[in-house]
């Protein structure tokens, strides 16, 4: 990712810049080259969208419900703390 980006980056180089781009960390020149590439390259646009979708899906990984025994244990911790406070 740290290698210098040529004036006409290839798709293979573009996929390595995606995270820096999404994080807003590409310097101006690289960001401009990246966006110019996307204008004409449908496939890299699809790739960028897939990366966004991957991030979105990670945010949807379900939480596990708290089991009642664990809840009771934590309440004990809380009550002991409160008593000492």
């Amino acid at each position: 990712m740290s290698a210098r980006v040529p004036d006409q980056p290839t798709c293979r180089q573009i996929v390595e810049l995606v995270t820096d781009y999404l994080e807003g960390k590409l310097p101006l020149r690289e960001r401009t080259l990246f966006e110019q590439h996307l204008v004409y390259c449908d496939w890299c646009r699809v790739y960028l969208e897939q990366m966004r979708q991957t991030i979105r899906a990670a945010g949807e990984v379900p939480e596990e419900a708290l089991d009642p025994e664990r809840r009771e244990e934590l309440l004990q911790v809380f009550r002991r703390w409160k008593a000492k406070k």
Partner: protein, 211 residues
């Protein structure tokens, strides 16, 4: 007692906790417990140890709430405590290696190089030979895909797993992750890039695209 700056929606919750309000405590438990277990499990070798760390963390949270200054949200404050405790616990465990940023190949490409045309191709060097295909959103958020996502994340090298879980599952900021894991901003981003790229590649056969 210190005053609470920022995060106005949490002022009532914090005040209630300081008073020893049990309902407020349970609200916090419901919103954080599952994330805490997930974060603790990143650093220690078993669910049982992770649960111990989480329980100790709750006590630390209660003891620390009076001094909590509200510079971050309560949730990220709690997650940073659990991560730090789990990390030192993990380092004491013989089985768990200390955090290493370079626990995998240094130059790991985001996409299989075979998916691109060779760099000496006369017309389209380095362009897609086997391009990605559009993914349908309905399938992306289906239960099956999310299960696959969870499995994919479990197969990542530890440092990558830690970063992607904290950033993309738990929603921590880059700064929070750097502070929690003790890595530089650039390093954090390299790990995140590898982790996301690998997970994307693992989802691809399921969601559509060249296998």
């Amino acid at each position: 007692m210190s005053s609470v700056a920022g995060h106005p929606e949490e002022i009532d919750l914090i005040a209630a906790l300081r008073r020893g309000d049990e309902a407020a405590f349970l609200t916090l438990v419901r919103s954080c417990q599952s994330s805490m277990s997930r974060v603790a499990r990143l650093f220690v070798s078993s669910d049982a140890v992770a649960e111990e760390v989480v329980q100790e963390t709750w006590l630390a949270v209660l003891q620390g709430i009076a001094a909590f200054e509200g510079r971050s949200s309560v949730r990220s404050w709690i997650l940073s405590i659990v991560a730090n405790r789990a990390r030192s616990r993990g380092q004491r465990e013989a089985r768990s290696a200390p955090f290493s940023s370079f626990d995998d190949a240094e130059d790991e490409p985001a996409v299989d190089p075979a998916r691109f045309l060779p760099s000496d191709h006369p017309r389209w060097p380095g362009h897609w030979a086997a391009p990605p295909e559009r993914w349908a959103d309905e399938k992306l958020l289906a239960k099956e895909t999310l299960g696959l996502m969870r499995k994919a994340i479990e197969t990542l090298p530890p440092a990558q797993r830690q970063v992607i879980v904290l950033r993309d599952i738990e929603g921590c900021s880059a700064e929070e992750v750097c502070a929690t894991l003790g890595v530089s901003d650039g390093n954090q981003r390299v790990l995140l890039h590898r982790a996301r790229s690998r997970v994307r590649a693992m989802l691809e056969p399921h969601l559509g695209g060249p296998v």
